[in-house]
């Protein structure tokens, strides 16, 4: 492999670096796990871990705001990164409300008026079901490695726990809302601990914290996710996974408007 081609192609360069590192490790017989992986690979792996090729589960969402608090029980299904369906099962007043994500589109089903409504682009940043998540979160959730340049910002111990911290900056052409995203991942088990979202001015907008790591559906996952908006530290939305299955047989036809309406 000639040097010029290495310097010209960053992808090849990183692969070359990877091979070189592995050779070096093999030579020294010191297997230093992890460090040799690129930041992108780790983030991608963490993303996949929480999703699987398909998944099905029961989630509780607890929303706390200045004026009201609410707990919703929901059934969720997902297929790959493009499809997901969420249906509220309790309390009775909201039961039957459902959200379908198919590609870049988000649809809501409103049982009271028996209508499905596509969320228009102008409201993608609006709150999803009154929570601190936006409709955009549903669509963009899985595209970190596509839309962001990822670098290791920190590699070492935090409070005695070995972690990586990844700095993600949007690629110039990416249509994303964040100016910067920072994610902390535990080295020991690839579990995320928190993600911080900054706007284009570098101001912290919200923090997502992961906890209650449990084995569910044969995998270790953080069963509790809490989002806190930076400007209202007293408000929060918590997602608590009650039940989770991975890699179950499921087809795209499940994620249809008809199914959104009729109940999965």
């Amino acid at each position: 492999m000639n040097l010029e081609s290495i310097t010209r192609s960053p992808a090849r360069a990183s692969r070359a670096a990877l091979i070189a590192t592995w050779c070096l490790c093999a030579l020294c017989l010191t297997a230093a796990p992890g460090r040799a992986q690129s930041a992108k690979e780790i983030v991608d792996r963490v993303d996949r871990l929480l999703r699987g090729s398909s998944s099905k589960g029961k989630v509780q969402m607890r929303i706390i705001t200045e004026h009201w608090s609410r707990t919703l029980d929901m059934d969720v299904w997902s297929l790959g990164t493009d499809y997901s369906l969420v249906r509220v099962t309790a309390p009775p007043k909201e039961a039957g409300m459902a959200t379908l994500k198919a590609g870049q589109e988000v649809w809501n089903y409103l049982p009271r008026v028996d209508r499905t409504i596509k969320v228009p682009p102008s409201l993608m940043m609006g709150s999803w079901m009154g929570s601190h998540f936006t409709n955009d979160d549903l669509v963009k959730e899985s595209r970190m490695i596509d839309d962001y340049d990822i670098t290791v910002a920190f590699d070492g111990e935090r409070d005695g726990v070995p972690v990586w911290e990844f700095n993600m900056t949007p690629k110039p052409e990416a249509a994303v809302v964040w100016g910067r995203v920072v994610e902390q991942v535990r080295k020991a088990d690839d579990m995320p601990t928190w993600v911080r979202y900054y706007d284009e001015d570098g101001t912290l907008v919200r923090t997502m914290t992961f906890s209650d790591y449990k084995r569910m559906g044969g995998r270790l996952v953080p069963s509790r996710m809490v989002v806190v908006p930076a400007d209202k530290p007293d408000e929060s939305t918590a997602l608590i996974y009650k039940q989770l299955e991975f890699d179950i047989p499921m087809s795209k036809s499940f994620f249809s408007l008809r199914n959104l309406r009729s109940g999965g």
């Binding site: 102008s122 409201l123 609006g126």
Partner: protein, 421 residues
Amino acid sequence: MSRGNGVWWRVAWRNLWRNRGRTLVTASALAFGYLAAVVVSGLDDGMGAELIDNGTHLLSGEIQVHAANYLPDRKVNHTIGGDDGVDVSALLRRIDEDPDVTAAAPRVYGGGLVSAGDRTEASLLLGIDPVREPRVTTLLSDMDGGRIPRSAHEVAIGSEMARQLHVTLGDTLVLVAPAADGLLGNDLYRLVGIFHTGTPEVDGSYTILPLADLQSLLDMSPDRIHEIALDVARPSATDAVVARLESTLPTDGGPQVDVRSWRRLRPELAQSVDLMSSMNFLIILIIFGMAVFGVANTMIIGTFERRKEFAVVRALGTTAMGVGRTVVYEGILLGILALAAGALITWPVMVWWHNAPPDLSGFVGGISWAGSRWRPILRVEYSTEIPIYSALALFVTSVVAAVYPAWRATRIPPADALGDR
């Protein structure tokens, strides 16, 4: 010396009429400059008045009352009187009592979605009092079809929104909005009216329904409103009304209210209007800036022609200052003459133009600017400032134009001029 002075004024006056044609032409130039300055500024003021009028009467009203924390975020829970609300009819009665308030209308806002068939648009939901609202704003006065929503489950949308949703009168619309209790309020409504204001931002975004209906969609009690919009009889009374309401309204130990005039509510509109009035001064400056050189030119020629005459007067013992002074006096007298002529031709033109403004609506459509619609009706607005400033500018012009020729006149050496050197 005053008697001597009188002589110089008389000399100046006579000099002015020695070349009658030239003086009349110069005076007419100044008079028409005055006419142009006053009329163009009047047109500019007319556009400004039109902007204010349409800008405030279309939607915002001249004054608005909110809870102190409502603007600028417009959170659904920040109602007047806080979470408990207020006795709305008592509050309205109190506002109606103000002698300068002609009408007041309560409002509720919600941000949400309007959907019909497979089409959905984001919309600003506005709950109105069907009786009070038309007294404050003209929003619902131009209906493309249908009528004002009056009873439960009736809505009106703008023509642009109707086009985007592909709906016509009688169709069913779904409204969805995050309610005060965090739920997603949603219900079905019948389209009973389509309004057309000519302002795309309004026609494409507002959905209007009766106050009580929006309150129930948003899970708000009838005591909770976001805004009261007011109409004031005389625009000049606006600030006084704001001050009075500020002192009387803070209610019963509840959260403070915030009273704002259109200047604070619509800073972009206020700025446009301010920009227009500052342009008036630019217009005056340009017109009389040009006039100054024309007048100076005539007077330089006039003094040059009289070189010998000045020389004789100097030779007879008049001081240089005395000679210069006649020329300046000529300028002053020319200015007074031009001003009289200018006022005489400007006044009827202004009266006519104010009362019978040319309506160009047939040729050009309305223009939307700074959130206000401007109709192409070229009415001139009367003003006390502009005629006075223009008169001052005219007067200063004729005097300034005389200064250089006067200085030249003082520099004429009698011997050289008489000796034709």
